[in-house]
């Protein structure tokens, strides 16, 4: 371990030594080989991002913060939640950093550490996953109603027309589809939940 470095950041106090390996920790937990340590801070990712305007930090800045061990700030960032997985940055990154997958890792780390600041996105994901874990298929109507009722009741009236359109045009099923071998899927997922990615 490097000599316990102290990084003073506003309000965050002294960095704990384990934070200095944050970059490594994130790389480990990411599917594929992330190449996160290869980032040259060129900003191609931040420049490519279609929704950068809504992010509190650009992806590039987030990776610099990972290097600096700013765990708290990174996990509280809205950036991973705004990422729409468009893969523009991924194919353009000159260093082949698996940026979009790192975003997934940061989301799951934020969920585990309960650090996210807006609960909508993780709840939406969780609701979706709940449907899949129950039926093996997604269920758009169930998802929409459940999610909107808890999070965006005010948006519902405006959307009623659209929802009705989707229903009358039979583009939303009233009842969920379910796979046959749900037991098998459940067994797989239960086992999977006990496993973690390390190398």
């Amino acid at each position: 371990m490097a000599p316990a470095e102290t990084v003073l950041t506003q309000g965050a106090g002294l960095k704990k030594p384990e934070d200095l390996t944050l970059l490594h920790e994130v790389a480990e937990a990411t599917a594929g080989v992330s190449h996160l340590e290869m980032c040259i801070q060129c900003g191609t990712c931040g420049g490519s991002c279609p929704s950068a305007a809504d992010m509190d930090h650009t992806p590039r800045a987030l990776f610099a913060m990972l290097r600096a061990g700013m765990r708290e700030e990174v996990l509280r960032s809205n950036t991973p939640w705004i990422c729409v997985s468009c893969y523009h940055c991924v194919v353009r990154c000159p260093q082949e950093v698996h940026i979009a997958d790192v975003m997934y890792t940061l989301k799951s780390m934020a969920i585990k550490a309960k650090k996210y600041t807006d609960s909508k996105p993780p709840d939406f994901s969780q609701t979706f996953v709940g449907m899949v874990e129950t039926f093996g298929r997604s269920f758009e109507l169930g998802l929409a109603t459940r999610f909107y009722l808890t999070h965006q009741p005010l948006r519902l009236p405006g959307m009623a027309g659209m929802g009705l359109g989707m229903l009358t045009k039979k583009r939303m099923n009233l009842t969920p589809n379910r796979i046959k071998n749900m037991d098998q899927l459940t067994a797989i997922l239960e086992k999977a939940k006990t496993l973690e990615l390390t190398s």
Binding site: G136, M172, L195
Partner: protein, 333 residues
């Protein structure tokens, strides 16, 4: 007969019903045999990955394992939905790139009596198989009602041409496959600069303001370029641009009316199939006017080729010839 293991994906039975119906309608003409993967499950879209990595990949890999078991004269899995296609491809690729991931996923699959060896099936998108296996010549030969005069903005969305681990697409940013397919139907194809930009994905659900802006840019660009209609190959793109166009208009006080349909719907119509059977009418932003342009107008007369102009200004570089995965070179006219 080209045979494929078929992974429809959840939205084909719901929001993207028009995609499914039009695909079924053109399937005989394309001599495509689709064998559905028995008891496939949801790919998890972009949601499961945010929650928990190993279960997310195990969920996807169950489909791959089932497909590998079912191999039956073909090892190609064809997915028409972008997110499904990407998830399947990514799982296959990452399980090999990071053996630790492969091992964990297989440990989970074993709990359901399954196993998947990365690389044992090929994962391909519908457009890819139409272009590279069936071929544009066959497509052209089936056209009975050319889409002459219809100005089409081809919109691929992001997840098919990217990240494209298997290098199946002619380009990440401006692939020409969908353009050429539309040209084969006789449509007038506009050089749509945002053809692989993002539609907002799940942001319509969790951060609508971010999504509205992305939708607005796309619809505005298509309108600015004079498109009558957008075609897509992705259920999510279709859903966002079609179902949320109204909300977007309300949000910005705009008045866009840009219909967006699946490319298979235009193929069906060009093949002489009844618009209703091709899934027209299911869209929320009506494609009536666009249809009228081909229905009402007699095929246009061949325009005389304009006299060769003296070169004006500075010459442009020649475009880089693009290559399809099948080795065909795309010729630009």
């Amino acid at each position: 007969m080209n045979k494929y293991l078929f992974y429809p994906g959840c939205s084909m039975e719901g929001s993207a019903r028009a995609y499914y119906e039009s695909l079924k309608a053109i399937q005989p003409a394309l001599t495509m045999e689709l064998e559905e993967i028995e008891d496939w499950n949801c790919c998890g879209a972009t949601e499961y990955l945010s929650i928990n990595l190993i279960p997310a990949y195990s969920l996807i890999a169950r489909n791959l394992a089932l497909a590998a078991q079912q191999k039956n004269g073909t090892d190609t899995v064809m997915a028409p939905c972008s997110a499904c296609y990407l998830n399947l491809e990514k799982a296959d690729y990452y399980m090999a790139e990071r053996p630790a991931l492969g091992e964990k996923v297989n440990e989970a699959l074993a709990a359901g009596g399954l196993h998947y060896e990365p690389g044992s099936v090929q994962i391909r998108h519908l457009v890819d198989v139409i272009i590279n296996d069936i071929g544009l010549e066959t497509v052209k030969s089936k056209v009975v009602r050319p889409l002459t005069g219809l100005r089409v903005a081809p919109y691929l969305g992001c997840m098919v041409p990217r990240p494209d681990f298997a290098k199946r697409w002619s380009d990440h940013e401006h692939p020409s496959e969908l353009d050429d397919l539309m040209k084969a139907l006789g449509a007038e194809v506009i050089d749509f600069p945002m053809k692989t930009s993002c539609c907002g994905g799940h942001m319509t659900q969790i951060g609508p303001e971010t999504a509205y802006e992305l939708i607005r840019r796309l619809v505005a660009a298509a309108e600015e370029q004079g498109a009558d209609i957008m075609v897509t190959m992705c259920p999510m793109c279709q859903m966002n641009l079609d179902a949320y166009q109204g909300e977007t208009n309300r949000h910005f006080g705009t008045n866009y009316h840009m219909p967006i349909v699946f490319f298979t719907q235009l193929m069906a119509v060009a093949f002489g199939i009844d618009p209703k059977q091709a899934g027209f009418g299911l869209e929320l932003v009506s494609a009536k006017d666009a249809l009228a342009r081909i229905g009402l107008k007699a095929p246009e007369e061949q325009k005389p080729t304009p006299a060769r102009k003296k070169p004006e200004g500075l010459p442009m570089p020649k475009p880089l010839p693009k290559k399809y995965a099948s080795g065909q070179t795309v010729v630009e006219e």
